[in-house]
């Protein structure tokens, strides 16, 4: 397993070391106990010495107690070490993700992060537990057994010594041969799961188009491939047992032959032959276990790689030294801004943006899908870094602020809004943990949310379910606005955040903004002309460039896009929604 991951063992190093120590002690007992047993048979039973049997029996019971104690200790330390390692890994990944910039987040899909935090870590945990227990047990067991055999019969010991690398090599070869097949199997597994997921999600589409048979056929194809790959991989692994058994039986036969002759020639005791066979079998078993663990580690390797991928991802944005913590005012300046999501060489999302907004102004932004409205405002709270030019807030380059202070004072309501499990109070308090109930209620009033919240039976204590699906789209948007307002920001950005709110309420929200937070710079992205019509400045975006700028009146005269949108929505006295 790679070194990077092992760094996460940290405080469970003690358990990780103690577990093998106790394993070694346990193995010691396990090797000694058969000796004791042989004594009981050879000395006690054969010679009908009952007091000797009892004497040795008591010792054996004590040894068994110790073995039990060591075994339990080894097991619990190993379990704790592995569970602790897994805990730390989850901790490290989750913390790392929290430090991700938006660019980092874009690189990983949500389900893939979830899999990494769950299934992958579980795989690593199991492999680690097995490693701690068995990788210490097997070699020691093999070594001690070998020593025991040596004390009895050198010839047989040499035979074993010769056999170990051959059998070990064979087993490893099987594991190695199987490995690439398992990797393929798990890739195909992903395809299978993906196909099921799609079908479950799109059950309505499948049924509406009567494509059940088509989907079943597709699925049979994939499950057939999984079957084939899996069978192939497992058939390779299936060589393990017969190879093992063949070796074991061959060894036994050889020993009976060699040992038998030795007995006949008087160089070996009868009881010794029995012991030698027992030790030989445990050597072979140890080898078997080692290869078993190797296979597990190989499978976990893929998971480990996926985890390291997250841990290795370097958070793009870090505060510089002497970061500024106070945003002086809500001035915003874009100077020759260029921006692209993929870095300098990819297609630009924004080109040649020059823009100056005064503190306290209300700015509207409109433009079609893909015109980079969102990209433009994302640069203000530094969700992304520009690839050229500068963005300034309060006259200072955003890169000079500490991220936390900048985002505290530049509040943005995202297009894809998310509320979290918890009460309305708790959700709004995301804006300011220490806000009083009155403060929460005030921002809700501003966002025109107070009214409907009070209509809920539990009012502000109403629980929001995951994703906020128990409030309507318009209500959700207003809660998100309230949450952003609670930060008392110098700049407030609404990215299409009132699309599900009716025009009247929308107007009331804007009125509240105007009257209650006159010093805050307000930037509103909207598809609805009425949402931006009365702004101090309207920016028309088109294909990553500013197509026009001015008041509604000016733009009606000079800007074709604006006029087109305006007429499509306002003509005939009707407004949408």
């Amino acid at each position: 397993m790679n070194r990077k991951l092992l760094q996460s063992i940290r405080e469970y190093k003690r358990e990780s070391i103690l577990a093998p120590v106790f394993v070694v002690l346990e193995v010691l007992m396990e090797v000694l106990i058969p000796l004791q047993m042989a004594k009981i048979i050879d000395e006690g039973i054969q010679k009908q010495n009952l007091s000797y049997i009892i004497q040795m029996g008591v010792i054996l019971v004590i040894m068994a107690m110790f073995a039990l104690y060591f075994g339990v200790k080894a097991g619990s330390y190993a379990a704790k070490a592995a569970a602790g390692f897994a805990k730390n890994l989850r901790h490290d990944i989750f913390y790392r993700i929290q430090d991700f910039s938006f660019k980092n987040i874009d690189r990983f899909s949500t389900p893939s992060l979830v899999t990494r935090l769950t299934t992958d870590i579980t795989n690593v945990q199991m492999a680690y537990m097995m490693s701690v227990r068995i990788l210490s047990r097997a070699p020691i067991m093999a070594l001690l057994s070998l020593i025991m055999i040596m004390t009895i019969n050198m010839e047989i010991a040499l035979l074993m010594l010769l056999l170990i690398p051959i059998l070990g090599g064979a087993l490893l070869l099987i594991a190695k041969k199987a490995h690439p097949h398992f990797v393929k199997v798990f890739d195909e597994y992903d395809v299978l799961n993906n196909s099921v997921q799609e079908n479950v999600n799109a059950a309505r589409v499948v049924k509406a188009y009567v494509r059940e048979e088509h989907e079943i056929e597709k699925f049979h194809g994939i499950s057939g491939v999984v079957y084939k790959l899996f069978t192939k991989a497992e058939k390779i692994v299936a060589w393990n047992s017969p190879v093992m058994q063949f070796t074991m039986y061959a060894v036994i036969m050889a020993m009976v032959l060699i040992g038998g002759k030795s007995i006949v020639y008087g160089t070996m005791e009868v009881g010794e032959l029995t012991s030698v066979i027992v030790y030989a079998i445990s050597i072979l078993m140890s080898l078997m276990m080692v290869t078993f663990v190797f296979v597990m580690i190989m499978i976990a390797e893929a998971s480990a790689d996926r985890i390291t991928e997250v841990l290795d991802e370097v958070p793009e944005m870090q505060d510089g030294e002497n970061a500024i913590h106070e945003v002086p005012n809500g001035d915003i300046d874009f100077e020759q801004v260029e921006f692209s999501y993929g870095g300098k060489d990819s297609t630009p999302a924004l080109q040649g943006i020059n823009l100056h907004i005064k503190s306290g102004q209300t700015v509207g932004i409109i433009g079609g899908t893909g015109s980079s409205k969102t990209s433009l405002v994302s640069l203000i709270p530094r969700l992304y870094d520009v690839t050229g030019g500068t963005v300034k807030v309060g006259g200072i380059d955003v890169r000079q602020y500490s991220l936390e202070s900048l985002r505290d004072q530049v509040s943005m309501v995202l297009q894809k809004n998310v509320l979290f499990t918890g009460s309305i109070y708790e959700n709004i308090r995301w804006g300011d943990e220490n806000a009083t109930d009155e403060e929460v209620q005030r921002v809700c009033e501003l966002a025109q949310a107070d009214g409907f919240i009070r209509e809920f039976p539990q009012g502000y204590n109403t629980m929001i379910v995951e994703g906020g699906n128990n409030v309507s789209g318009g209500q959700k948007q207003r809660l998100c606005i309230a949450r952003a307002l609670l930060k008392k920001p110098k700049v407030l950005i609404l990215d299409d955040s009132t699309s599900a709110v009716d025009t009247k309420t929308d107007a009331l929200i804007r009125k509240a903004f105007r009257e209650e937070i006159p010093d805050t710079t307000k930037i509103i992205i909207a598809q609805r002309i009425s949402s931006v019509e009365d702004a101090d400045l309207i920016i028309v975006m088109d294909e990553g460039k500013i197509n026009g700028m001015g008041t509604s009146k000016e733009l009606l005269e000079t800007n074709e896009i604006y006029r087109e949108v305006y007429e499509s929505q306002v003509k005939g006295g009707g407004q949408d929604e």
């Binding site: 048979i41 899909s109 058994q245 009247k504």
Partner: protein, 629 residues
Amino acid sequence: MNDNNKKPRVTKDTLKTAKRLLGYVMRDYKMKFIAVCCCILMSSIASISVSLSLKFLLDGYIVPLIGHQNPDFTELYGALSVLGTIFLLGVLATFCYTRLMVNIGQGVLKTIRDEMFEHMQTLPIRYFDQHTNGSIMSLYTNDTDTLRQMINQSIPQVLMSGLTIIVTFIAMMVLSPLLTLLAVVMILLMFVVTKKIGGNSGKYFVRQQMDLANVTGFVEEHMSGQRVIKIFNHESVAKEQFDELNEKLFHSAANANTYASIMGPVVGNIGNMLFVLTAVLGGFLSIIGVGGITLGVMASYLQFTKSFTQPFMQVAQQFNSIIMALAGAERIFGMMDEEPEVDEGYVTLVNAWKDKDGNIKECKERTGMWAWKHPHQDGTVTYTELKGDVRFFDMSFGYTDEKTVLHDLTLYAKPGQKLAFVGSTGAGKTTITNLINRFYDVQDGKIRYDGININKIKKADLRRSLGIVLQDTHLFTGTIMENIRYGKLDATDEEIYAAAKLAHADQFIRMLPNGYDTMLTGDGEELSQGQRQLLAIARAAVADPPVLILDEATSSIDTRTESIVQKGMDNLMKGRTVFVIAHRLSTIRNSDAIMVLDHGRIVERGSHDELIQQHGIYYQLYTGKLELD
């Protein structure tokens, strides 16, 4: 918190599940499975003969030779070759059964997976609405995985161990029934201890599973809300909450695995104690000469005692995984036992043409004209032309018996008419579309399609005649071409291009580096929501159905693009009966009739102009005085 203390228990249902699982094996792999059992028997005989033969060889062929000047080993060679043959057979048997088990195990898994998926396709939409995607998914992943492990590892292991136990036990009985009595007592003790530890371990495994689910849920919510977390500088709080859940998972996982891993040493050392007791008791008995216990009997009996605990340990270790796998299998079978969607329809949709007298005739080739083929009880068949006339008569419906969602709805849509539904969330708009294509069945009243009660129409044919574009666009892994072709599997490339042009999707598709061959993965993540909706519209267009249902089909397209798409949509809607549900009233203004729904009742109906004049709810909505949620 009750669930916390649930122990995995062997109940009647578990046994039933096990039996059913075995049924799969017996159904498809009867001969193979019998062969496996035989091979395992042979294999365990070989492994038992190791300890049996040793005494035999020593006493019969080796010890008698001690002291001979020129020992003759021929007899020993002979005995060894017999033993070697048994061993060889054993190895061969092992080779066969491990391979056969791979085939059986993977084959059964494939069958179960396929049957599960096939059955899932027959389930009514109700099932998908009532179960979370995650819980359905976990049937295919977690539950099938544990099943795989059980079939591959546990079953052969348990069979092998079971046979070994039986054979060893018989051998012990033969040697000394008296001492075996002692062994039985110890075995019972072993059982009690294993059950105790197994129970504890099971308890913590259940708890671990729950804690893992909690962590997963938390992670899922926070990963998808990661951007919001960043904007609100909420990282530290999220970290704190995560640590708490993580700590809990650590505890249950550590405990569960501790109990699972101490099972081995505990059972093993009980075995050691058994050895001592047997030795003492046996030694005592042999000395006083009771029970016919001789030295030789004692020696080999003790050998057996040693090898006896090994299989018990193996069974004990498999216990947890078997119980967990059976619990998973129970869930899988639970889904497979869900009632499939019933379809007692007998009216089918056929290609048709009209002869000179205007009679409708059925034909095989596509004519562009469709007819409902209606067989009657007296054996006659009538044909009705597919036109797209949809009428509701006093229709009522509720998803549950307690709550009626739609009340006495009566409405009609003549062929080619455009009908719009307006109303707040929960007013029942989407429910109406659910009923037209029979995702759900009406409880009261009826729906007639071209004069035929839709309950008489085969569901597949009914749905084929309806095109539907949903608010949540779902695309499939595959190229854009394949995704549009989903609407009509035998569509030519030209038809696809035409449909894309109609939906105004052609332009953006051609801008993509690979054009129509662009691969979509993960529900079309690479595209914007608006682009995905355009593809969904193209998909419906290529299907070319007489009736079209648009459920918020353009909600994510900006108004400017929408106004362009609208032209395509108008083309698409031409000559078809259309049901439109839209948030934006501008998109439904030119409908033939607009129904305003409130709490499952139609409160206003009429054309746009009529409704504006009425100065009712629609008017208020339209002028922005009322909020639509």
